[in-house]
């Protein structure tokens, strides 16, 4: 057995779950890129963007225990904000004539554009969160849902900036698998550092027992607001990535379906662990891709073909089954398992509490 009490091993142990998740995704990405299959690469990129979304969801939902239906609204904000900066320099005025002069005339590099879009989402989250985070439990969930509806209907009608019900076409497709992988790793590390920080710890205390946490001096509203803003920042960046992946933006992309799919990934993986968020995305992406292939007849014309949309029926049913039989998800809300002998002293236990 390896002695796990040396400083080096303790350090490795501290970062064990997050390093393994990143290496796992790295292996998958490297294999798919090496296979050089265009369709598979698209599935992979979409999956990696979903890692960003679901890990951002975990930062808020997993740590605060409040179900949010509004985060896809932040994706919409981020996606359109990057579109304003990078989309189609020659036709931008045609799609979005209401933009201010600076945005009409200038284009930013997509990394900068995505970062600024994330900041805009975070800013909106700060404003909305000051109101919404005062609510708790089911009222907060309803509030975030109302937020999604407000963002959706505003973006649908605000046609001088968003092209409204028609789509914005011509974003440069710069989100390659490796770009998406980098963003996924950054998000995973951010979520890891956040949830191990004193802020994450305080927020989880309020999740497990709000009254006791308040009594112990946790500013519950402030902690929730912080998590809401951080996760909105990453959701906004995911929106920008998704826009540069699809090459076009429509308002309906960022609505109830995407909300349900990303929540399903989080619930199936395990809502209260970072590993759960990533595992949920990987598992569900594989399942969805397999079923979609069956729908479009992967065994030739006469082979077994699933009817249209049955993929989503399966996803919904699996989600219900997980909620009934294993509410803590595939990972049972635990992080990845440390395979070596543990440090059983109280000090060690304190250091590695998650």
């Amino acid at each position: 057995m390896i002695d796990a009490t040396t400083p080096l091993m303790q350090r490795i142990r501290h970062f064990w779950p997050v390093v393994n998740l990143c290496i796992g995704l790295l292996v998958i990405t490297a294999i798919v890129v090496a296979l050089d299959d265009r369709i598979l690469a698209r599935t992979l990129t979409e999956g990696l963007i979903r890692v960003v979304i679901v890990v951002a969801l975990y930062m808020f939902i997993g740590n605060s225990g409040i179900m949010s239906f509004g985060h896809i609204g932040f994706m919409m904000i981020g996606a359109y904000a990057t579109g304003w900066q990078t989309c189609c320099p020659y036709t931008r005025e045609m799609f979005m004539p209401g933009l201010p002069g600076y945005l009409l005339d200038n284009s930013h590099h997509f990394v900068l554009a995505i970062f600024l879009a994330g900041l805009l989402s975070a800013f909106v989250a700060l404003i909305a969160g000051i109101a919404l985070m005062r609510l708790s439990g089911i009222a907060a969930s309803i509030g975030t849902f109302a937020f999604l509806m407000i963002i959706y209907s505003v973006y649908l009608r605000w046609s001088t900036w968003t092209s409204g019900a028609s789509s914005v076409i011509g974003l440069p497709q710069t989100t390659t698998p490796w770009v998406a992988y980098c963003y996924a790793v950054v998000t995973i590390f951010a979520a890891f550092f956040y949830s191990r920080s004193k802020f994450g710890l305080a927020l989880r205390a309020s999740r497990d027992d709000e009254v006791a946490a308040k009594a112990a001096g946790v500013n519950v509203i402030g902690q929730r607001l912080l998590a809401f803003v951080i996760s909105a920042f990453f959701c906004g960046m995911a929106g920008g990535l998704f826009g540069h992946f699809l090459g076009m933006l429509t308002v309906d992309t960022f609505f109830l379906n995407l909300t349900l799919i990303t929540l399903a990934m989080l619930v199936i993986g395990g809502m209260q662990s970072l590993s759960g968020a990533v595992v949920g995305v990987v598992v569900l992406t594989v399942v969805i891709d397999l079923l979609k292939n069956l729908e479009s007849g992967m065994f030739g014309k006469d082979g077994f073909v699933l009817p249209t949309s049955s993929t989503w029926v399966v996803v919904g049913v699996v989600m219900m089954l997980i909620i009934i039989f294993r509410r803590s998800g595939i990972t049972r809300n635990a992080e990845l398992y440390w395979p070596f002998k543990s440090d059983i002293t109280a000090e060690g236990a304190l250091r590695r509490q998650s």
């Binding site: 225990g65 409040i66 179900m67 239906f69 109101a131 919404l132 005062r134 609510l135 708790s136 439990g137 089911i138 009222a139 969930s141 309803i142 509030g143 109302a146 937020f147 509806m149 407000i150 209907s153 505003v154 649908l156 009608r157 009254v211 109830l256 379906n257 349900l260 929540l263 399903a264 619930v267 009817p307 249209t308 949309s309 049955s310 989503w312 029926v313 996803v315 919904g316 049913v317 989600m319 219900m320 909620i323 009934i324 509410r327």
Partner: protein, 305 residues
């Protein structure tokens, strides 16, 4: 003047409609603390039960050709079966879970039903001609015309409300249901059969959805897999505004939403009308912040410590 009368009549009929939906959602919230996102899909299912299951573009009538009484019984029956099945297969197993878990389970159910409908009937909207004689108008004066259907909706809503009130006040099981909505644990200790009460709430909620399905599809004449979703969202807002779990609150909330959205359309300048939904959902956030217990508070909405 004509405009005012027209606005009053349409907001009353819209409000009645939302009130019915809000009652269906509020009943379940009262006994189970479930926000049923699938309520709208029960309405959709009721509409689709009218035609033969097939992906063909032209809808072939199934129940649609029946005698009106048989038609109502069949559609309501189908929706009630769906509601009961959703209880016994899904919600019964998680009824002790936190409300957020119940809510997300119902979202998953709603998503599954929508995609099941696409799978069986295809995603294209289909035309159905349900009771075309109801779509006419009655002229009140030279300028004011009242659609017959709006009057029917108001009348049906009030008949149902009166029936429901009598049921809840005068029958033993109705009293049990009110007791369960007030304090579920206490009611159980006093001998209320939980399963029976909750199942009955699902039956009533399903029946309301079935009747709404008939009225809604008479009005629109179009079957779409998303037909009920926005209806449900508005009804859901109505329950939040009225006070979750309060049945009177649901009715009040329904009328508030109906009147608010009709009046908004009438008074907003042309360019702003599209943003009506944003205003209505903004109202929800304002109500949640200023009066989280809703206009008609009950105990059910309080978080249990």
């Amino acid at each position: 003047m004509e405009v005012v009368v027209q606005v009053i009549i349409s907001s009353l009929s819209l409000g009645s409609f939302y009130a019915l939906g809000a009652l269906g959602i509020g009943l379940l919230f009262g006994v189970l603390r479930l926000i049923n996102f699938a309520h709208g899909d029960f309405i959709t299912v009721g509409g689709f039960s009218l035609i033969v299951p097939a992906t063909a573009v032209v809808a072939v009538p199934l129940i649609l050709d029946f005698h009106p009484v048989a038609l109502i019984i069949c559609v309501v029956g189908v929706v009630v079966v769906w509601a009961l099945a959703s209880y016994f297969l899904l919600f019964r197993h998680i009824q002790t879970a936190p409300p957020a878990v119940l809510m997300i389970a119902s979202v998953a159910l709603s998503f599954s039903i929508q995609n099941l409908i696409i799978m069986i009937y295809s995603g294209r909207p289909k035309a159905v001609g349900l009771w075309p004689e109801l779509t006419g108008v009655i002229p009140l004066s030279d300028k004011v015309q009242v659609p017959i259907l709006q009057l029917v909706i108001v009348a049906v809503t009030w008949i149902l409300l009166i029936l429901l009130t009598i049921f809840l006040r005068r029958t033993p099981i109705g009293v049990e249901m009110r007791a369960a909505a007030e304090d579920f644990r206490m009611a159980r200790m006093l001998g209320v059969n939980a399963t029976r009460v909750i199942a009955l709430a699902f039956v009533i909620s399903g029946a309301l959805a079935g009747i709404m399905a008939l009225m809604y599809h008479t009005q629109t004449g179009i079957l779409s897999f998303r037909g009920g979703v926005f209806l449900m969202l508005y009804a859901f807002i109505a329950t939040v505004i009225g006070g979750m779990g309060s049945l009177i609150g649901a009715v009040v909330g329904g009328y508030v939403v109906g009147i608010f959205s009709t009046v908004l359309i009438a008074i907003l300048p042309e360019g702003m009308r599209g943003f009506r939904d944003a205003f209505v959902f903004g109202l929800v956030v304002v109500i949640l912040l200023a009066r989280p217990q809703g206009l008609v508070p009950t105990r059910a909405f309080k978080e249990r410590v």
